[in-house]
C-alpha cells in the first residue's frame, strides 16, 4: 500500500475553499445570463416590479449551489461508475446480457425520473372533447404512457449497446428511425384524433432523457465503446441519447395508434357532455365523476348543461354547490367554490349563486413553503439518483470488480443527490416563479385588450359619488374615486357593473396592453425575442448539457471546447423555442415545423463526419432538462392560456431539433476551416 500523506487542517480548508470557489463561480456564470435577462425583461420592458424578490434570490442561490454540487457529483461519482461498468461488461459477458442490462437501465431511468409531471403541466388545459385521445393519454392512460416511454428508452439503450459493441454507423440508425417516426407522425396528422398527440409524442422524446440519465448513459457508452469497439473511429460513447429521444416518440405514437381504435372522435363540447354520448365519454374518463369534474373545471356553462341533460337538474346541481361544501372538492377538482365562481363560472351561474359572498375570495395559492418543497424534491432526487447507482454497483459486484476510489464515488453520489435536490427546489422556489411572473405578463405584449387582473366587490356603493368628465370632442364619461392607501384614484364607472338591489359595485382591475392595440406585431416580435433569450439562457445552465460538453472536450483533447458546444446548443434551443412559440401564437400544426426541420437535417447529417453526427444528435436530447422545462412550460402555458390554445406541446420537441442543426453546422464549419488550412498549402505548393 502507498503511504497516506495527511494534509494539515488549515491547508485542507484552503484547498477546499479554492475547489469550491472555482465550481461555484462557474455556475454563477452559467446562470447569470438567464437571471439578469429575466429581471431586466420584467422590470424594464414589462415595467412590473419583482414580487417576492427575496424568495427568488434565495431560490437562485439554491440553483447555483445545486448545479455546482450536481455537476461535481456526476464527475466524481456517477460518470466514473458508469464508465467502469461499460468497460468491464464487454470483457466479462456477451452482448445479449449487455443489451439486457441496457434495457433495464433505460427503463429504470425513465421510471426514476418521471418527466410525465412536466408533460401533464403542459397538457393541463387539454379538453376531453377537443382531443379525447390526448386527454386519455395524459389522464386515464398516464401510466401506460410512462411505461411505453420507459420501454422506448430501454430499447434505445439496449440498441445503443449493440451499436457500440459492433461499432456500426450512427447514420444507419438515424436514417432508419427518424424517417420511420416522421412517416408515422405524418400519418397521424391525417387523423383528427391522432394529430393532437404528435406534440405529446415528440415532447416525450425530448423530456425523458433526464439530467441523471444522460451523463450516466454517456459514460456507459464511452466505456462499452472503449472496451469493445472493433476497428477505429468509434464515436466515443455518443449516439445513445439520440436513440433514447427517438424511441419514446415511436413508442408513444404506437400507443396512440392502439388507443385510437377505441377512442371517440373529437366533437363539440355540448355533444361530448350530452347524455347520449355518455358511453363514449366514459371510455375517455373511466367513470362519470371525473367527467363531471371535467365539465366544471375545463368546460363552460354549456358543458354543464349538457352533462345534467335537463335545465332543472343543472340548476339544482349548481345551487347545491353552495349547500354541500363537502362535495365541492371532488366536483370542482380541488378549486374552492369562490375561486370557481370567479374564474370558471358564467354570469348566469354567478347569478344562481349570488348569495355566496365573493369578497372572501382567498388569496392565490401561496407558493409552497421552503421546507415542503425541499422535502418533496429530496424524495424525487433520491428516486432519480439512488436506484440507478445501486443498479450500477450491483453489476460491478456481480462482475466481481473492485472499485478503486470507493469513497470518492460514494461522495460523488451524495453530491449528485444534494445537487439534484437543491437544484430542483431552487428552480421551483426561484427561477420558475421568476419565469412564471414574466410569462404571465408577456401576453400583454401582444394583447389587444386590457388584461383582467382581479375583481373587487365594493359593498354599500353610493352612486352619488359618481361624477362626470368630458373629452375634447365632447363625449362624456362617468367616474368615481377609489381610495388606494388613502389616496383617491379616478376609476371609470360602468353602469352594468352596479348591482342596484344589493348596492354592490363590481370593480374589475385590468392592466392595459403593453403596446397600443394596433402594435401587436411589435408585441409578437417582443415575445419571440424573449423566447429566444430565455431558451438560450436556460440551456446554458442545463447540467446535462454541461456534462456532455465536458465529455466532448475530453474526447477531442480540447479541440472542441465545452463552452463552444454549450453556446452552439443554446443558440439552437433558442431558435427552436422561438419556432415552438410561433406555433402556439399562430396555431400552426406541429407537423409543419417538425418535418421540414428534420428534412433539413438529412443533408447536414450526410455531409458530417460520424463522430460529429453522434455528438450533434445527442446534444438534441440533453437540452431539455430541469432548468429549461419549467421555464418554457410556465411561459408557454400563460401565452397559450390567453390565446385559448388547447395545449402547449411541441415547444420542447422543437427545442431539441434545432440544436442538432446548429451543432452539425458548427462541425461542418470547423471542418471546412481545417481543410482550408491544408488546402491553402496545396495551392502554395502548386505555385512553386
Amino acid at each position: 500500500m502507498i503511504k497516506r500523506k495527511s494534509v494539515p487542517f488549515l491547508d485542507a480548508i484552503n484547498m477546499l475553499l479554492a475547489y469550491a470557489r472555482v465550481r461555484i463561480l462557474e455556475q454563477i456564470k452559467s446562470v447569470a445570463f438567464i437571471i439578469i435577462y429575466l429581471v431586466v425583461f420584467q422590470t424594464l420592458i414589462l415595467g412590473v416590479p419583482l414580487a417576492n424578490a427575496l424568495g427568488t434570490a434565495g431560490g437562485i442561490a439554491l440553483v447555483v449551489f445545486g448545479l455546482a454540487f450536481f455537476l461535481e457529483g456526476l464527475i466524481l461519482g456517477l460518470m466514473p461508475l458508469g464508465e467502469r461498468v461499460g468497460v468491464k461488461l464487454p470483457t466479462k459477458v456477451g452482448i445479449s446480457i449487455i443489451a439486457g442490462f441496457g434495457l433495464i437501465l433505460g427503463f429504470g431511468a425513465t421510471l426514476a425520473e418521471p418527466a410525465i409531471s412536466a408533460l401533464k403541466t403542459a397538457g393541463a388545459t387539454v379538453t376531453a372533447w377537443d382531443s379525447p385521445l390526448l386527454f386519455m393519454l395524459l389522464n386515464r392512460y398516464a401510466e401506460w404512457l410512462v411505461l411505453s416511454v420507459g420501454i422506448g428508452v430501454g430499447v434505445a439503450v439496449a440498441l445503443g449497446m449493440f451499436k457500440f459493441y459492433y461499432n456500426f454507423s450512427i447514420k444507419i440508425l438515424i436514417f432508419t428511425i427518424i424517417p420511420l417516426i416522421l412517416i408515422l407522425s405524418i400519418i397521424a396528422s391525417l387523423n383528427d384524433n391522432l394529430t393532437k398527440i404528435i406534440g405529446l409524442a415528440w415532447d416525450c422524446g425530448a423530456v425523458t432523457t433526464g439530467a441523471v440519465t444522460v451523463p450516466l448513459v454517456l459514460a456507459l457508452g464511452i466505456g462499452v465503446s472503449r472496451a469493445s469497439s472493433q476497428g477505429k473511429g468509434s464515436s466515443g460513447g455518443f449516439g445513445i441519447i439520440l436513440l433514447a429521444s427517438a424511441f419514446p416518440v415511436l413508442a408513444v405514437l404506437i400507443l396512440g395508434f392502439t388507443l385510437n381504435i377505441k377512442a371517440p372522435n373529437p366533437t363539440s363540447e355540448t355533444e361530448f357532455f350530452s347524455t347520449a354520448n355518455r358511453e363514449q365519454a366514459k371510455h375517455v374518463f373511466g367513470d362519470v365523476e371525473k367527467l363531471q369534474t371535467h365539465a366544471y373545471t375545463l368546460g363552460s356553462e354549456n358543458a354543464r348543461k349538457a352533462f345534467y341533460g335537463s335545465i332543472e337538474e343543472y340548476e339544482s346541481a349548481i345551487k347545491s354547490l353552495a349547500n354541500n361544501p363537502e362535495n365541492n372538492k371532488s366536483i370542482l377538482g380541488g378549486l374552492s367554490l369562490s375561486t370557481w365562481l370567479v374564474q370558471k363560472a358564467s354570469d348566469n351561474e354567478r347569478n344562481l349563486l349570488s348569495d355566496v359572498n365573493l369578497s372572501d375570495t382567498p388569496a392565490p395559492i401561496a407558493a409552497s413553503s421552503f421546507k415542503e418543497t425541499l422535502k418533496v424534491e429530496t424524495i424525487s432526487g433520491i428516486r432519480a439518483v439512488i436506484p440507478l447507482s445501486i443498479l450500477l454497483v450491483l453489476v460491478l459486484i456481480l462482475l466481481r470488480e473492485k472499485l478503486k476510489y470507493k469513497d470518492e464515488i460514494v461522495l460523488g453520489i451524495v453530491f449528485t443527490l444534494i445537487g439534484m435536490t437543491l437544484l430542483t427546489s431552487g428552480i421551483k422556489l426561484g427561477l420558475a416563479s421568476l419565469g412564471g411572473e414574466v410569462g404571465a405578463q408577456l401576453p400583454r405584449a401582444f394583447a389587444k385588450e386590457e388584461k383582467f387582473v382581479d375583481r373587487v366587490v365594493i359593498n354599500n356603493f353610493d352612486t352619488s359619488l359618481v361624477y362626470k368628465g368630458i373629452a375634447t370632442d365632447g363625449t362624456q364619461k362617468s367616474f368615481f374615486n377609489i381610495l388606494e392607501e388613502g389616496k383617491p384614484k379616478p376609476i371609470e364607472f360602468k353602469a352594468d357593473r352596479l348591482d342596484k338591489a344589493n348596492n354592490r359595485y363590481e370593480h374589475i382591475i385590468t392592466q392595459p396592453p403593453l403596446f397600443k392595440s394596433k402594435l401587436t406585431v411589435l408585441g409578437l416580435i417582443l415575445v419571440l425575442v424573449f423566447a429566444f433569450g430565455m431558451g438560450y439562457g436556460a440551456t446554458m445552465a442545463e447540467p446535462a448539457l454541461n456534462a456532455l460538453g465536458i465529455t466532448v472536450e475530453g474526447l477531442t483533447v480540447g479541440a472542441i471546447k465545452r463552452a463552444q458546444i454549450v453556446q452552439v446548443v443554446s443558440i439552437g434551443v433558442g431558435i427552436g423555442i422561438v419556432l415552438g412559440f410561433s406555433r402556439i401564437l399562430f396555431d400552426l400544426p406541429l407537423i409543419w415545423l417538425i418535418v421540414p426541420s428534420y428534412i433539413l437535417l438529412i443533408p447536414l447529417t450526410i455531409l458530417s463526419e460520424e463522430e460529429f453526427t453522434a455528438i450533434a444528435w445527442d446534444s438534441g436530447g440533453v437540452t431539455t432538462g430541469p432548468v429549461t422545462v419549467p421555464l418554457v412550460l410556465a411561459m408557454g402555458l400563460s401565452i397559450g392560456g390567453v390565446l385559448s390554445i388547447s395545449d402547449g406541446f411541441g415547444v420542447l420537441a422543437l427545442a431539441s431539433a434545432f440544436p442538432i442543426i446548429t451543432v452539425l453546422l458548427f462541425g461542418l464549419i470547423a471542418r471546412a476551416k481545417q481543410r482550408k488550412s491544408i488546402s491553402n498549402n496545396l495551392k502554395d505548393d502548386a505555385n512553386e
Binding site: 503511504k3 497516506r4 479554492a18 477505429k232 477531442t556 483533447v557 471542418r671 481545417q674 488550412s677 491544408i678
Partner: protein, 401 residues
C-alpha cells in the same frame, strides 16, 4: 544528412546502464530501436495508418491538438489584425523500428503523407531501449509499392523534444501561446492523468484535479535550455504542484513550420524563409537565439536540471495500475498516463482495443531499480502490445512538493 549523427555520447547515460544490467541478467532482452513519433492532422491520419499497415508495424495512436496563431483582419473594416489561437485536432502515431531503417521509414512516410507541405505534421525519431515480446521487424520492401513522390526534404538534426506536464487547467494553452510567440514550433497539446499526489491523500484529493495538460515542443537543441527556462518562468513551474518539464534528445526529424495561418503579408512567410535557410545550412545551428541567451542570464531559476530518464510503459488499464504502484514503491513519482489505441497490422482478435501509456521521468540514480520492478511486474512476455521504453532525458526540471 545521415542517421549516423545520432545521440551525442553522454558522460553518463542511465539507459546504457539499464542495457548493461539487463543484458547481464539475461531474462529480458532490451532491443535498441528508434521510436518514431508522427504528429499529423486528423484529416490525414488514415494515410499514415494505411502506410504502417502496409509495412507491418504496430503503432499506438493518441489524440491531441496542435495550436497555431490565426491572423485575420479585424472585422468591420477596422485597421489592424486580430491574433487568435486556433486548435486543430491531430493524431499522434508512435511506433518503433530498427535503428538502421528509421531514416528511410521517416523519409518514405513524409513523402507518402505529404508532410513536406507545411501545416500537415511533424515527424521525428528518437533512439531508445525497448522491452517487448518481439523486436520490430518492418517489411520495408512494401514501401516501394506505395505511391509517393520525391522531394528535397529538410530533415534536421540536433533537435530536442521538450515535454511540459502541467497541472493547472488552461495552463497548456498559455504555454503553447508562449512557444508560438517565441516562434519555437507548433505546440502539441495532449491530455493525461496523474494520480500520484491524489493517491497519497484521503478524500481531500477531490480538490486536486487528476487531469494534466501536456505540451509537446520540438525545438533546436541549442535553444532548448534557454527556452525551457523561459517557459518555467512564464508558467511559474518553479512553484510546487504546477507541473514539470523535461527534455529528451531527438536523432533527427522533420518539423512542421506553419506556426501561423490566415492573412499573410509577404511573398514568403518568416517560417518559409527559416525553413529554406534550414535547408541551405542543413541544420538549425545558425538559428541560435540571442534573446534567449540574455534571458538565460537574467533568469535566476531556483530549479536546476536533473539528469533523468524517461520511462514509458504501454499496457492495459489494470496492469498499468500495478506497474505504477510498483514504481511508486521505489520512489518514482510523476507518472502521467494517457489513453492510446493500438493500430494493429493484421486483424488480431483478443487484443485489448484500448491501452494506456504511462510516461515517467525518473531520476538517473534510480532508473535501474525502476526498470527492475517494472520488469518483475510486467506482462510483456505474454502481451504482444505491451512495451517498456527507456530513454535518456538529459535535463529535467522537476520541483518536488
Amino acid at each position: 544528412m545521415s542517421s549516423e549523427n545520432t545521440t551525442k555520447e553522454k558522460v553518463f547515460s542511465p539507459s546504457r546502464t539499464v542495457w548493461r544490467t539487463q543484458m547481464a541478467k539475461g531474462i529480458y532482452t532490451p532491443h535498441r530501436v528508434s521510436r518514431i513519433t508522427c504528429i499529423i492532422n486528423q484529416l490525414l491520419s488514415d494515410k499514415v495508418t494505411y502506410f504502417l499497415q502496409k509495412i507491418g508495424i504496430t503503432a499506438y495512436t493518441e489524440s491531441g491538438r496542435t495550436v497555431r496563431e490565426f491572423i485575420k483582419p479585424r472585422s468591420l473594416g477596422l485597421p489592424g489584425d486580430i491574433k487568435q489561437l486556433q486548435s486543430s485536432p491531430v493524431v499522434i502515431f508512435r511506433f518503433t523500428v530498427p535503428r538502421e531503417s528509421s531514416y528511410s521509414v521517416i523519409e518514405a512516410l513524409i513523402e507518402y503523407a505529404e508532410l513536406y507541405i507545411p501545416g500537415r505534421g511533424t515527424i521525428f525519431s528518437q533512439d531508445l531501449m525497448e522491452f517487448s515480446k518481439e523486436p520490430p521487424a518492418p517489411n520495408l520492401g512494401a514501401m516501394v509499392n506505395l505511391d509517393m513522390g520525391t522531394h528535397d526534404l529538410t530533415i534536421l538534426n540536433n533537435l530536442a523534444y521538450v515535454i511540459c506536464v502541467l497541472s493547472n487547467p488552461g495552463s497548456g494553452e498559455m504555454l503553447a501561446k508562449i512557444a508560438l510567440e517565441l516562434g519555437v514550433c507548433v505546440p502539441l497539446i495532449t491530455s493525461g492523468t496523474g494520480n500520484d499526489i491524489r493517491d497519497q491523500l484521503g478524500l481531500i484529493r477531490i480538490t486536486i484535479p487528476p487531469e494534466k495538460e501536456i505540451v509537446h515542443l520540438i525545438m533546436p537543441e541549442q535553444d532548448s535550455n534557454s527556452i525551457i527556462r523561459l517557459l518555467i518562468e512564464q508558467g511559474r513551474l518553479d512553484k510546487p504542484g504546477r507541473g514539470f518539464i523535461y527534455h529528451t534528445p531527438v536523432s533527427f526529424g522533420f518539423i512542421d513550420t506553419r506556426l501561423r495561418i490566415g492573412k499573410q503579408k509577404y511573398a514568403a512567410s518568416i517560417e518559409q524563409i527559416i525553413a529554406a535557410i534550414d535547408q541551405l545550412k542543413a541544420g538549425t545551428n545558425w538559428r541560435k537565439r540571442l534573446d534567449a541567451e540574455i534571458e538565460e542570464n537574467k533568469v535566476n531559476s531556483s530549479i536546476l536540471p536533473q539528469d533523468n530518464c524517461e520511462i514509458s510503459i504501454v499496457s492495459d488499464e489494470e496492469r498499468i495500475d500495478v506497474l505504477r504502484e510498483a514504481c511508486l514503491q521505489v520512489g518514482a513519482t510523476g507518472a502521467v498516463t494517457s489513453r492510446i489505441v493500438p493500430q494493429l497490422n493484421e486483424k488480431e482478435s483478443d487484443v485489448p482495443l484500448s491501452l494506456i501509456r504511462s510516461a515517467i521521468s525518473v531520476p538517473a540514480n534510480i532508473t535501474n531499480e525502476v526498470v527492475d520492478v517494472l520488469l518483475d511486474n510486467t506482462t510483456i512476455k505474454e502481451n504482444a502490445t505491451d512495451r517498456i521504453h527507456v530513454l535518456d532525458s538529459p535535463a529535467a526540471y522537476i520541483q518536488s512538493l
